[in-house]
Amino acid sequence: MSMPHAADLPLWAAILVAAFLVIGAGLTLIGSFGFWRLRSFYDRVHAPTLGTSWGTGGIVFASMIYFTVLELRPVVHEILIGIFVTVTMPVTLMLLARAAIYRDRAEQNPDVPVMEPARARLEEASTGSETGSRLQNGI
């Protein structure tokens, strides 16, 4: 339960570390709760990004401040994790969302966007005024 090495930490650093730790962990929890709670996959794919952006950021900042103050030298190698996760997570989620949309289209599920929205709208607009009003309705 005790952390004897944390005793010689100044108070401001302790408060900063504690705040970043709690904020980061709390945001990660909110993201995971949303991932458990939201209804469709396309909603759910957004939720874990909370944990990978500011969840990781907060805990990485806390670790950097803690070891920098404790070892009296700049300790910044944790930033590697932050950069790596922030760079790779959009790629992963994009790949996964594209795979999901591909599978949904292959099974002809409803509630999936049309194949090429921009081109479909162009064709609709060129075929007459009757579809022009539909275009204004956002179809």
Binding site: L9, A18, L21, A25, F35, F84
Partner: protein, 93 residues
């Protein structure tokens, strides 16, 4: 005083991240489809990586950093490969 603050925050962070891992695992168990399970595994990877970082702060050693970095890299590769598999039916064509 400062030790007490950090100890309290570290245990709160441990508990919060454990709860987040439970939520991710519940979604991974429940599905309903394969992409949900893959995303649940990815969330679980990230949460356990953060858990390891907090563990490093608690023990005051920097060794856990390497484990966290490896988990992050492996999570990315595993999720990318699984997404490719879901789309194509095979990983390497």
């Amino acid at each position: 005083m400062s030790e007490m603050i950090v100890v309290f925050a570290v245990w709160v962070a441990h508990g919060t991240l454990a709860l987040a891992m439970i939520f991710a695992m519940a979604r991974m168990m429940r599905g309903p489809r394969a992409q949900d399970r893959v995303l649940g595994l990815d969330t679980l990877y990230v949460n356990s990586m953060l858990q390891l970082l907090v563990f490093g702060i608690r023990t005051g050693s920097t060794f856990y950093f390497e484990a966290a970095l490896i988990i992050g890299v492996l999570g990315f590769v595993a999720t990318a490969a699984l997404a490719k598999f879901l789309m194509r039916g095979e990983v390497i064509e």
